[in-house]
């Protein structure tokens, strides 16, 4: 961002404070939602939605993405696409039938003591 107009900068400072308040509110809200013991899928959806909202505010206002150059938008679009490929392809293409189960948490039985040989 390269505005040098003092009035524009002061206006932005007000936006920064507004975003700060909103981020604090959403943070408390996110923690508060966990006390409702919602179904997992719904809780995940709400948590993700709140995180995306907060992330968008940081990106658009603090990182000035609301008025950036096309080169940045193009780079970030490609990055976002590749990110989702990285995130989803392993999960969607996993053909393993074995599930990592409770046996992973099983405390191993101590090995029997070796005899002294006498």
């Amino acid at each position: 961002m390269s505005e040098s107009n003092p009035e524009a900068i002061k206006k932005q400072v007000k936006a920064y404070i507004g975003v700060l308040i909103a981020l604090c509110f959403f943070t408390v809200f996110t923690v508060g939602v966990t006390y409702f013991h919602l179904p997992t899928a719904l809780a995940l959806a709400i948590g993700l939605a709140i995180a995306l909202t907060k992330g968008s505010m940081v990106g658009l206002i603090f990182m000035h993405l609301n008025h950036e150059k096309r080169f940045i938008y193009a780079s970030l679009s490609l990055t976002a696409f590749l990110f989702f490929v990285c995130l989803l392809v392993p999960v969607m293409t996993d053909k393993s039938s074995t599930r990592m189960d409770e046996h992973m948490y099983h405390t191993p039985t101590p090995a029997p003591e070796a005899s002294n040989g006498h």
Partner: protein, 201 residues
């Protein structure tokens, strides 16, 4: 020989070097953290019973500390961008004060993180305990290293680096902006890390 486009923007992209560089770097960081989040999703969806009992409870208990850390990072993001805004308005002392606050808040974050790690270790929870702890220590540890790196850069810009304000104020302002972009990204990662690790387990 002067390096071109450290202040003046390139005619093709409309960006100065530092800004283009930091955004490309942040794109690589998205892939780094994205790979870790992807690993977490992959591991979690393959466990029939999640979370592992002891670790899940420990992380749930830590959520208040993590929430405080979230506030700390959000406020540090504001102080960082206010530092840039102060420089745009020609207020160098205000900018330095905001940088100091950012640095102090980052220090607070690291102290709270250290306390959190100590509590885990004292309860016998370590990276090798189970998958959740492995992911927790890896992701928050990597994030913590990024905070430390940011602190080094901010410290430099408050120390030896601040001399540039006297000779090339616009270039110094650009350096603060670029550092701010990195810092906001680190905050952004935490915004996703906090609910993923602490609240959804």
């Amino acid at each position: 020989m002067d390096i071109p486009y450290t202040v003046k923007t390139r005619p093709d992209t409309g960006l100065y070097n530092g800004k283009m560089g930091i955004w490309l770097f942040l794109a690589s960081e998205v892939m780094l953290f994205g790979a870790l989040f992807s690993t977490y999703v992959f591991l979690r969806t393959n466990y029939e019973h999640w979370p592992p009992p002891r670790s899940g409870e420990a992380l749930s208990d830590s959520r208040w500390l993590a929430m405080v850390n979230t506030f700390v990072l959000i406020i540090s993001s504001v102080t960082m961008v206010m530092s840039w805004a102060s420089l745009k308005l020609g207020k160098f002392k205000d900018a330095q004060r905001h940088l100091l606050f950012t640095l102090l808040l980052a220090g607070v974050f690291m102290v709270i993180k250290t306390v959190e790690y100590s509590l885990k270790f004292s309860h016998g929870l370590e990276p090798s305990t189970d998958v959740l702890m492995a992911m927790y220590f890896t992701m928050t540890g990597l994030h913590g290293l990024h905070i430390l790196g940011g602190m080094v850069v901010i410290g430099y810009l408050m120390g030896p680096g601040k001399k540039m304000w006297e000779t090339e104020p616009e270039r110094y302002t650009n350096r603060i902006e670029v550092t701010g972009l990195y810092w906001h990204f680190v905050d952004l990662v935490w915004i996703f890390l906090f609910p993923t690790i602490y609240l959804m387990n």
